[in-house]
């Protein structure tokens, strides 16, 4: 990653974030290439979500978190490069939802229950694109159709509780993509969804990425999802980056012991073909980590 002459879209350099005495991110560095899907993987508490929140400029909001060091360089829509950590809140607000947007794991808690889905999508369109209510509505409808919400016109007037989990996540994606962001951060976007709905979402996200050229930072613990959609992988453990690389390289020849242990503990669909009895996981690597 980051190899080649083109400048990365996002470059996190030596980022250290502390919550009191706890170091949540320890000298974190990695790049995100334009138009690619980069999966940030790791187990609970490894710092994946803190990384995402740092990029969004949300990590210090209402928390005890302090950014100790580092920079997050982002190439804006106008071609200029900005350090997100040095932005004013005003600048950040013009970037958030417009140039960098985010979708979360639980769409029900990220949507406002007292506004219709249409109102919520239109809000961000009106705010960032300065459209009138009428043209914002047309744009919202267009977005709903793009994320393949059936009966889109009706769903615009629905409240979040009236929709299924998959539909809510489609609304979130529509909202996130409505301002044509350069970077979409998706924090466990399919974890709360059923497997057939997850498959729909992954297909949809891939297609929308091809259409819009947006980069995706996919935060997940699910290596199955990573194997399906990621171009690059950043493996995190205990606040640090353990390994980065191309998805094929990481799965085929992981270098770090931790990555190897992680891959050894994943059940791979199809790996039991022809075997008559259940089989234990071979967790040797983790037991005697070199």
């Amino acid at each position: 990653m980051g190899i080649g002459s083109t400048q990365p879209l996002l470059s996190i350099r030596n980022l250290t974030v502390r919550f009191g005495t706890f170091t949540a991110l320890d000298n974190l560095s990695f790049n995100l290439d334009s138009g690619k899907t980069t999966a940030v993987v790791g187990e609970s508490g490894s710092g994946k979500s803190v990384t995402a929140l740092s990029v969004m400029g949300l990590v210090t909001l209402g928390t005890r978190a302090e950014i100790d060091a580092g920079e997050i360089l982002f190439e804006r829509k106008d071609g200029s490069t900005i350090d997100l950590l040095q932005c004013t809140e005003r600048e950040m607000r013009s970037i958030r939802g417009n140039e960098i947007s985010m979708i979360f794991q639980e769409p029900l808690t990220s949507l406002n229950p007292v506004y219709t889905t249409g109102d919520q999508v239109m809000e961000s369109i009106q705010l960032h694109q300065g459209l009138t209510r009428r043209s914002a509505k047309d744009k919202a409808l267009e977005m709903f159709e793009m994320v393949r919400i059936p009966r889109a016109e009706k769903v615009l007037t629905d409240y979040p509780h009236q929709l299924s989990g998959g539909m809510r996540q489609r609304v979130m994606i529509a909202m996130a993509l409505s301002c044509d962001p350069k970077l979409l951060i998706a924090d466990e976007p399919t974890t709360a969804l059923d497997v057939t709905i997850q498959a729909q979402m992954l297909g949809l996200m891939k297609e929308l990425q091809d259409q819009t050229g947006a980069s995706v930072m996919l935060i997940t613990h699910d290596m199955g999802v990573v194997a399906e959609v990621a171009d690059d992988i950043v493996v995190m453990r205990r606040s640090k980056v353990v390994e980065t690389g191309n998805v094929y390289d990481i799965f085929e020849k992981p270098e770090a012991n931790y990555t190897r242990a992680l891959l050894a503990s994943i059940p791979r669909l199809g790996s039991m073909t022809g075997k008559s009895e259940p089989e234990l996981f071979d967790l040797v690597l983790e037991a005697n980590e070199r």
């Binding site: 497997v195 057939t196 891939k206 992680l262 050894a264 503990s265 008559s276 259940p278």
Partner: protein, 299 residues
């Protein structure tokens, strides 16, 4: 019939205020043999958790029979049920919510032994709990600690120790490894398989995770809208899936290998609801045995 658990025609309907009904479990037949793992898979609302709760009598069935070692369990009172409870234990999804935060984990594991009067003296109780802790890979020093001092994986080990306290024949595990990190999940699954090998335990394993099922199940039942649409050995289901819904599930499941990427058709379908308007009810599926032990619902 030589199976440990034999469930026939099990049914549960939840009436709603507006007169409609949720047919959560419809005429379900399942058997679990000795030292066997039967996995029940399906998506939200397919009735798999209701099925688990009906079998261990946390819910009363509206119809059908549940036989454990040949003894009928439906219709038994709480007191009559007690001797059978020790043969059948449950492990839940969330090990944070299923342990009493104000009790030491040692007490939580000892409690079933106390209730069933299985350890008369203090020392005997302590010894039995210590053995259980050792068996599930916890340290003896953990016994005096409280749930909040443990990680998710350790807590799930405590829950397994508690389930094993009464030396059950059948353990019903409802999404028991779904909330765990993958490396911890693999360790807990290994522990469950070792316990099966060493103690001859049977599992009714409820999950949505097909890759885990492929790893640890002997037989698999696929549920859809309260009914079983396909059931067979692991090889039947994974190597010769026949019902369209089973195929759809397997097609949708991600494979943790980037060389096996699938082209995803852009579907928009939703999971249908098991709720039926007043006066309507689902059509009962008919099964065909397409090879010995492999049942498929007619479509």
């Amino acid at each position: 019939m030589n199976s440990l658990l034999d469930v026939r025609e099990l049914q549960k309907v939840f009436p709603l205020k507006d007169g409609s009904k949720v047919h959560a479990v419809e005429h379900v037949d399942v058997e679990v043999g000795h030292a066997e793992t039967l996995a029940v898979v399906g998506e939200s609302g397919c009735g798999k958790s209701t099925l688990a709760q009906l079998i261990c009598k946390l819910l009363d069935a509206d119809g059908g029979s549940i036989k454990l070692e040949g003894k009928e369990l439906t219709g038994l009172s709480t007191v009559q049920m007690r001797p059978h409870r020790s043969k059948m234990q449950m492990i839940f999804q969330d090990p944070f919510a299923s342990l009493d935060p104000r009790r030491t984990v040692g007490y939580s594991v000892a409690e079933p032994l106390i209730i069933h009067g299985l350890a008369k003296k203090r020392e005997e109780l302590r010894d039995r709990v210590a053995k259980l802790f050792e068996r599930v890979g916890l340290l003896l020093s953990h016994m005096n600690q409280f749930p909040h001092q443990f990680s998710g994986g350790q807590r799930q080990r405590v829950c397994i120790a508690r389930a094993l306290a009464l030396a059950p024949k059948l353990v019903i595990a409802d999404e028991s490894v779904s909330a765990l990190d993958v490396s911890v999940q693999a360790q807990v699954i290994n522990l469950m398989m070792e316990l099966q090998r060493d103690m001859g335990l049977s599992y009714l394993f409820i999950t949505h995770d097909l890759a885990v099922v492929e790893r640890m199940a002997h037989r698999v039942a696929v549920m859809y809208l309260g009914q079983i649409v396909e059931m067979g050995s692991r090889a039947h289901i994974f190597e010769n899936p026949t019902h369209s819904y089973t195929k759809k599930l397997l097609q949708a499941a991600p494979i943790a290998d980037p060389r096996q990427r699938k082209e995803r058709p852009l579907l928009t379908g939703e999971i249908p609801s098991p709720r039926w308007a007043a006066g309507q009810s689902p059509v009962r599926v008919e099964h065909v045995e397409i090879e010995p032990g492999h049942l498929v619902a007619k479509e």
